[in-house]
C-alpha cells in the first residue's frame, strides 16, 4: 500500500469521523439483527434470539475500538473523546475544578514568575558580543585600579584581545530647561569596540579621541536620548553642556544597552577618558578594568599572566599591586545575587510540589466517587491503558487550565517582582514573560499534570469491576493501599511546608536582627539631598563656601527643621572614599602600610542633624574655617585601632603626601560613635571626619584633580515631623539661589536604610509568601484527608459508639491519625531543612541556618495548624449518631 492511500484513508477517516461512527454502528447492528432473524427463522423466540446474537457477536465496544485502531486514527480520535469526556466531567464538578485550577495557577504562575527572573538575571549571557569572553580586573576582585597600573597591565599582557578602563563621572547637564545630575562614565577608546555593540545612531569613539584635548565627545544612552532630547536625530553633531563644558554628541546607543553592568549601572552617557597627568599615578585608584580574552586563551592562563605581571610590579612599586583579581564579567555581575535567587527558585519549586500533592489528593478523593463510572467503562470493554490515558487527559486538561491562569498570574507577578525588587539585582528590568518563560510554563504544566494525575489514574484504573458494581450504591470501598498513598502525600506536603516555613522563619529572624542593628546615628526624621554646583555660578571658588553656608542657614530656618548640616557622601547611600594618613611623632611607615581610614567632609551641624553622638571632645564649629588650624574628628574604631590605650584627642594626623606643609596637619578634636558606612552589616572600620570648610579641594580653590570630583554637597536636615513634607521646601530653598543648580537624590534616611536592607527584605517577603501558601495548602491537605477518612469511617465509628466508645475515644481515634501524619511530616521536614538550610547561609544575618528556636517554633506552629485542620472533621465524627450511622450503611 502506498503513502497516498494511507493518507487518504486517514484523512477520510478524520473528516467523516462521525459518519464513520454511525456507519460502524449500523453495520454491526445489521449483523446482530440479521443473525437474530436467522435464529428466529429456526424457531428461537424473538427476545432470546437477539440476546443470543449479541452474545455470539462478543464485545461490541471492543470490536469498534479495534476497527478504529485498524484505520489508525484511534490516538487522535480517543484524545478528542477524552477531552470531551474530561471537559464534561470538569463541568459537572465546577467547585472542584475551580479550586484545582486556582491552586495550580498559583503554583505554576509563581514558578514561571521566579523562573523568568532567574532566567533574565542569571541564565542569559550579558548583552555584549561573545560576552562569555569578557572579564574584569580589580583589586581584591572589587576595588578600583590606578591609571599607571592599568597601562602597565594593558601593555605587558598578551592574553587579551582588548583591554579598556572606565571612571565614574556624573556631570551636570546644563543649558537645558531643568539642569540634571546625570550618571556617566569616562571610558577609554578601546572599550566600545571591545563590547562589540553597534550604536543606533552615529559612531563610537575612534582612535585618538581619548587623548588630551580631543576628549570632548559624548555618546548617549537610548534612554537619555529619549528623555532629554525627545529622540531627535538632529542632536547628532550638536554640542551639549556637561559640567560647564561643551561636548559634541557623536553617537546614541541602542535600547537595551547598559554599561557598566556592575558598579556604575545607572550610567547614561559616556565620554572619552583622557588620563592626562594621572598616567604616572599609582595612587588614586578609580578605574575599573574590562578586558576581552584572546581566542584560545583560557581563564586560567589569563589569571596566571596577570598574577605574574602584578607580582613583578609589586616588587617595583610596593603596595600597589597586591591581590589583583581577574573575574569573568558575568560572574562579577550576577555572582552576588546567585544564591538568593536560587534559594527562591528552590522554594517556589517546593510550592509547586505541594500544589501537585494537593491536587493529587483532590483527584484521589474524586476518583473514589467515580469508581462506578470506571467500573462500568471497564465492563464495557475499556482496557486499563485506555482508562489511564483518559484520566491523564483529564489531569492535563486541568493542568492546562491551571497553566493558562498561571500565565496570567505570572505576568502580573513579574511586574510586581520588578517593582519590589531591590536595586542591586542586575538586569531585573529586562525580566518579562517571553518565549523561554512560556516554554518553561508549558513544560511545568505538563510535568505537573502528569505528576498529580498519574497516581490517581493508576489507582482509579485498577478498580475491580465485579466488586464495585456489586456494591451497588455504596460508591466502592476504600482500600488500605489508597489510604496509604494519601497519607504519603500529606506527609510530603507537611514536610515541604515545614521546610519552607523554616526558610521563611530564618529570613524573618535575619530581618529582625538587621532591624536591631544600631547604625550609630538615628535615621528617623532625617532627609537629605545632593546639590551640585557644577556648571552654575556657585561653582566659582569665591562663592562656593558662602553659598554652602547660606544654604545650610536657610535650611535651618525652614519651618519644621530642627537641625541641618552637610557632608560630602551620605553614609549607606553615597560613595566611600578612603585615604591613608600619617600620625605625628610616629616612625614613617613603609609604603603600603600607612594607617588608612574612610574620610568624609562635614560641616558644623552634621552630627546633630544625624544625631550621631560624639563620645568625647567637641564638634566642629563655624570658627573652624580656612584661617583656623585644621581639625578632624575620628570614630571609635579609629581610636581603638590606631591609639590603643592612648587618648587621640589633641594628637595630629596628616592625610597629605607632603607632610612638610604645616597646614596639612589636622588636630583630632573629638571621637564620634561608630556609624554604618557602606553596608548595613559591615563591621566598624576606621573613619575620619574632616572639616569641609577647611578643605581647599572641597571649596574649589585648590585647582587639583581631586577638586573636580568635589563640586557637590549632601545636605542633611532633621525635622520635627514627617521629613518628606520638608522635601519641596528644601529644593526650593536651594533653587532660590540659582536655577542652574542640579538637585538630586532627595531621600529620607529611613528610605536609605530601607534600601540598604532591600535585598533581605525582598527575600524575606517572597519566602514568607511561599511559606504562607504552602501552609494553607498543607492545612487544606490535612483537612481533606482527615475529613475524608472520618466520613469513610462513619460506619466504624457508629459501631464503636454503639459498643460503648465515648466521644473522647472517637476524638482520639481521629486525632491519632493526624498525630502520626504530623510526626512523620515533621521528622521528614526537619531532616530536609537541616540539609537544605545550609544553602541559604549566605542570606542570613545574626542567625544560624540550624537555629533551634526557629526549627522548634515552626514545628510546633505547624503541629497546631494540623490539629486545627482536623478540628472540624473530628467534631463531626464526635457528633455521629450511632443509630443513624448504622442505618445509613
Amino acid at each position: 500500500m502506498n503513502m497516498w492511500t494511507r493518507l487518504r484513508s486517514w484523512t477520510a477517516a478524520m473528516l467523516c469521523r462521525t459518519r464513520k461512527e454511525r456507519e460502524m454502528d449500523e453495520e454491526m447492528r445489521f449483523h446482530i439483527e440479521a443473525h437474530a432473524a436467522d435464529l428466529v427463522g429456526r424457531g428461537v423466540a424473538q427476545q432470546e434470539a437477539l440476546r443470543q446474537a449479541r452474545v455470539e457477536f462478543g464485545g461490541i465496544e471492543t470490536a469498534k475500538e479495534e476497527c478504529r485502531e485498524a484505520v489508525g486514527v484511534s490516538c487522535l480520535e480517543t484524545l478528542f473523546q477524552d477531552v470531551r469526556h474530561g471537559s464534561r466531567a470538569m463541568l459537572r464538578a465546577p467547585v472542584f475544578t475551580a479550586i484545582a485550577v486556582i491552586v495550580l495557577a498559583l503554583g505554576i504562575g509563581a514558578n514561571t514568575a521566579i523562573f523568568s527572573v532567574v532566567d533574565a538575571v542569571l541564565l542569559r549571557p550579558l548583552a555584549y558580543r561573545d560576552s562569555d569572553r569578557l572579564v574584569t580586573i580589580l583589586m581584591n576582585g572589587e576595588g578600583p585600579v590606578s591609571v599607571a597600573n592599568y597601562i602597565d597591565w594593558r601593555d605587558q599582557s598578551h592574553s587579551f584581545a582588548a583591554m579598556g578602563a572606565a571612571d565614574y563621572w556624573s556631570p551636570n547637564l546644563t543649558g537645558v530647561d531643568a539642569p540634571e545630575h546625570i550618571a556617566g562614565l569616562k571610558v577609554t577608546q578601546s572599550l566600545f569596540p571591545m563590547l562589540g555593540i553597534d550604536p543606533l545612531l552615529g559612531r563610537v569613539f575612534v582612535e585618538g579621541e581619548d587623548k588630551n584635548g580631543a576628549d570632548r565627545e559624548v555618546i548617549l544612552s537610548y534612554r537619555l536620548w529619549q528623555r532629554r532630547f525627545s529622540g531627535d536625530r538632529k542632536v547628532l553633531g550638536k554640542p551639549i553642556v556637561l559640567d560647564g563644558n561643551a561636548y559634541i554628541v557623536v553617537g546614541v546607543m541602542p535600547v537595551g544597552f547598559h554599561f557598566a553592568p556592575f558598579w556604575a549601572t545607572k550610567a547614561e552617557l559616556w565620554v572619552p577618558n583622557a588620563f592626562g597627568a594621572r598616567i604616572h599615578s599609582r595612587g588614586g585608584n578609580s578605574l575599573r578594568i574590562f578586558a576581552r580574552l584572546k581566542d584560545g586563551v583560557s581563564l586560567t592562563q589569563a589569571r596566571a599572566e596577570i598574577a605574574s605581571i602584578t607580582a613583578r610590579l609589586e616588587q617595583q612599586f610596593p603596595g600597589t599591586n597586591r591581590e589583583v583579581m581577574l573575574t569573568p564579567l558575568k560572574e562579577k555581575v550576577v555572582g552576588p545575587i546567585e544564591t538568593p535567587l536560587l534559594v527562591l527558585l528552590g522554594a517556589v519549586a517546593f510550592v509547586l510540589l505541594i500544589t501537585c500533592a494537593n491536587v493529587a489528593h483532590m483527584l484521589l478523593a474524586r476518583a473514589s466517587t467515580r469508581q462506578k463510572e470506571v467500573a462500568v467503562r471497564a465492563a464495557l470493554g475499556a482496557r486499563r491503558g485506555r482508562l489511564i490515558r483518559q484520566f491523564l487527559t483529564e489531569s492535563i486538561l486541568l493542568g492546562a487550565l491551571g497553566g493558562a491562569a498561571g500565565l496570567l498570574l505570572a505576568m502580573i507577578a513579574t511586574r510586581a517582582l520588578i517593582a519590589i525588587s531591590p536595586a542591586n539585582i542586575p538586569r531585573v528590568q529586562t525580566v518579562s514573560i517571553d518565549l523561554r518563560a512560556a516554554l518553561f510554563l508549558f513544560s511545568a504544566t505538563i510535568l505537573t499534570s502528569v505528576g498529580f494525575g498519574l497516581a490517581p489514574a493508576l489507582q482509579a484504573s485498577s478498580v475491580n469491576v465485579n466488586d464495585t458494581l456489586k456494591e451497588g450504591g455504596r460508591g466502592g470501598s476504600e482500600g488500605v493501599h489508597r489510604n496509604r498513598l494519601r497519607s504519603l502525600l500529606v506527609v510530603s506536603e507537611f514536610a515541604l511546608a515545614l521546610m519552607l516555613l523554616i526558610g521563611a522563619g530564618l529570613m524573618i529572624r535575619t530581618f529582625a536582627a538587621l532591624e536591631a542593628v544600631d547604625p550609630g546615628f538615628n535615621p528617623h526624621n532625617v532627609i537629605s539631598m545632593i546639590v551640585s554646583v557644577s556648571g552654575s555660578k556657585e561653582e566659582d571658588p569665591g562663592r562656593r563656601e558662602i553659598f554652602y553656608r547660606q544654604l545650610i542657614e536657610r535650611l535651618r530656618s525652614l519651618p519644621g527643621v530642627q537641625a541641618a548640616g552637610a557632608i560630602n557622601h551620605l553614609p549607606l547611600a553615597g560613595d566611600l572614599w578612603g585615604w591613608h594618613f600619617e600620625i605625628e611623632g610616629r616612625p614613617k611607615p613603609r609604603p603600603g602600610e600607612k594607617p588608612g581610614a574612610v574620610y568624609r567632609m562635614v560641616t558644623p551641624g552634621y552630627f546633630s542633624a544625624m544625631r550621631l553622638p560624639l563620645i568625647r571632645g567637641r564638634d566642629m564649629t563655624e570658627a573652624d574655617n580656612v584661617t583656623a588650624p585644621g581639625v578632624v574628628i575620628v570614630n571609635e574604631q579609629a581610636a581603638r585601632q590606631y591609639w590603643p590605650g592612648e587618648d587621640p584627642i589633641g594628637k595630629r594626623i596628616c592625610f597629605d603626601d607632603d607632610t612638610t606643609n604645616p597646614a596639612a596637619w589636622l588636630t583630632i578634636i573629638g571621637i564620634a560613635k561608630d556609624a554604618k558606612q557602606d553596608s548595613w552589616t559591615d563591621k566598624a572600620t576606621p573613619e575620619a571626619y574632616l572639616a569641609a570648610f577647611q578643605n581647599h579641594d572641597y571649596l574649589g580653590d585648590s585647582r587639583t584633580e581631586a577638586s573636580k570630583h568635589m563640586n557637590y554637597i549632601t545636605l542633611v536636615t532633621r525635622t520635627a515631623g514627617d521629613p518628606a513634607l520638608v522635601a519641596s521646601a528644601m529644593k526650593e530653598a536651594a533653587r532660590s539661589f540659582d536655577r542652574n543648580l542640579a538637585i538630586t537624590q532627595v531621600v529620607t534616611m529611613d528610605g536609605v536604610v530601607a534600601e540598604a536592607n532591600a535585598q533581605p527584605r525582598f527575600e524575606m517577603l517572597l519566602l514568607t509568601i511561599f511559606a504562607a501558601v504552602a501552609l494553607v495548602l498543607a492545612a487544606v491537605g490535612i483537612y481533606g484527608v482527615i475529613s475524608y477518612s472520618a466520613s469513610r469511617r462513619t460506619h466504624e465509628i457508629g459501631v464503636r459508639m454503639s459498643l460503648g466508645a465515648t466521644r473522647g475515644d472517637v476524638l482520639l481515634l481521629v486525632v491519632r491519625q493526624v498525630v502520626w501524619l504530623a510526626v512523620a511530616g515533621t521528622v521528614a521536614g526537619i531532616a530536609g531543612a537541616l540539609l537544605l538550610s545550609r544553602l541559604m547561609a549566605k542570606l542570613l544575618y545574626g542567625v544560624q541556618p540550624t537555629d533551634p528556636a526557629t526549627f522548634g517554633a515552626v514545628a510546633v506552629g505547624l503541629g497546631v495548624v494540623a490539629m486545627l485542620a482536623c478540628y472540624f472533621p473530628a467534631r463531626r465524627a464526635m457528633r455521629i449518631d450511632p443509630m443513624a450511622a448504622l442505618r445509613y450503611e
Binding site: M1, E26, F30, H31, A34, G58, A63, E66, C67, G72
Partner: protein, 113 residues
Amino acid sequence: MEKQLDLLQGTLDMLILKAISLSPLHGYGILLRIQQISKERLEIQQGSLYPALYRLEHHGWIKSEWGESESKRRARYYRLTTAGKRRLQLEAERWNQMTAVIAGILQTTPEEV
C-alpha cells in the same frame, strides 16, 4: 456435529478475501459464506470479523459500498479490488507452500532422517 476448529492465526484475512472473491457480501454474509464452505467446521469470533474488514479496506484490498440486503435493509457490501485479487493469489500460494512443507515434515518417518 464435529468439533469446530479455531481459526489459525492470520488466516481470517485470507478467508474473507476468498469469500468475497466469489461475490460481493455484507459482513454477516461473509460469516455465513465461510461457515457454509467450511461445512461449519471453523469457529469464527464474530466480533473480530469487523476489525479484519476495516483493516483490509484500509489496505485497499477490498472496497465497501452500501446496498440493499435480501431482507430489503441497508447493508454494507464488500467486494474485492484488483489489488485484493493479487493479494488473495499471493496468500493462497504462500498457504499452499506452507501446508506442503508442514505436511512433508509431519509425514517424515524415522528412516528418512
